[in-house]
Symmetry: C2
Subunit: 138 residues, 2 copies
DNA sequence: TCAATAAATGCACTTCTGTTGCACTATTAA
DNA sequence: TTAATAGTGCAACAGAAGTGCATTTATTGA
C-alpha cells in the first residue's frame, strides 16, 4: 500500500484509482487548483466525479477550499503546515495578478483581527494579491 | 441639482434617472448588495443596465466590489470612511453566516501583512465570517 | 433649432461554474 | 454468492456573469 493510499484511508476515504490520481495531481501542483484545472488534466474523467472527489476530500479534511477572489473555488492539499483538522485554517493565500496562480503561504498565519462589539468572528479569510516570486523576476 | 447628482458628476458619471435611483438604493442599504438584490428592488429595470451601472460605478470609484466568499459579487458605496480613491481599500468586511449580510467595517483597517521575499503585495482582501451584531442578539 | 454624434438602456443570447438526479458499476460485508 | 453500499458516468439544470446589437435618450455643434 502506497503512502497516498495510507493517507486517504487515514481520512476515512476509500483509495480508489481516481482519487489516488487526483491526490497525486494536487500533490504535484504546489498551487491551489480549480475544478477546471483538474478537468483539463484528466480529460477522460467526468467533471462530476472530480467535483465530488474534491467535495469528499474537503469534507474529510484532505484539502481545503480557497476563495481567492477570482470567483472560482480552488483547492489545495492540507499539508504538514496546515492545521485545518484541528483549528481554523488560518494561513493566508497569495493570488498573483500576473500568472493568476494562487499559493498557500502556510507559514504565514493570519494576525488576530478585532471586530466591533456584538460581532462574533468564526472564520477569517485573507487573500493578498500582487506579484508572486516567480513573476517578480527573482 | 441634488447632492447625489453632484456626487455622480464629481466622479465623471452622468446622473441619469436610473443611476440616481441605484445610488439612492445603495445609500439606503447599509450593507453590501449583490446584483440580484438590486434586480429585486428594481423589478422594472433590465439586469444588464443594473450590471453595467455597477461596473461604471466601480470604475469611477463610486462603489467598491466586495468578495465575501459567497461566490457572489457584492457592492457597497465608498463613503467618507472609505478611501478607495486615494489608496487601496484596506478596511475589512464582515459576512454574517446567519443573516447572510455583508457589511463594511470601514473603521477597522487591515493590519500590515508580511509576505515572503519575492512576493509583492498590491492589495489585501480580508473577510471575517461569523455572527453580526444584529444576529448575535445584543 | 435641428441634425449628427455619443452615451445609456433594453433584449436576447452565450458561457462558465457549480450542482443534482438517476442509472450503472465496482467494492465490501454477511 | 448475494445483498448492501460506495463510487462513477451521463444528462440536465441553476445562477451569475458577460457580450452583441438594436433602440432610445441625451449632448453637442453647425
Amino acid at each position: 500500500m502506497t503512502e497516498i493510499e495510507k493517507t486517504l484511508e487515514n481520512h476515512q476515504v476509500r483509495p480508489t484509482a481516481m482519487r489516488i490520481l487526483i491526490y497525486k495531481y494536487l500533490a504535484e501542483k504546489k498551487i491551489a487548483v480549480a475544478l477546471t484545472d483538474i478537468e483539463y488534466a484528466f480529460a477522460k474523467a467526468e467533471r462530476t466525479t472530480l467535483y465530488r472527489t474534491l467535495k469528499t476530500f474537503e469534507e474529510k479534511k484532505i484539502v481545503h477550499q480557497i476563495d481567492d477572489g477570482t470567483g472560482i473555488s480552488k483547492y489545495a492539499l492540507c499539508e504538514s503546515g496546515c492545521n485545518c483538522e484541528i483549528e481554523q485554517d488560518l494561513h493566508l493565500h497569495f493570488h498573483c495578478n500576473n500568472c493568476n496562480e494562487t499559493v498557500c503561504l502556510t507559514e504565514h498565519k493570519i494576525p488576530q483581527i478585532k471586530v466591533p462589539d456584538g460581532f462574533v468572528s468564526e472564520n477569517v479569510n485573507l487573500v493578498v494579491k500582487g506579484i508572486c516570486d516567480k513573476c517578480s523576476g527573482q
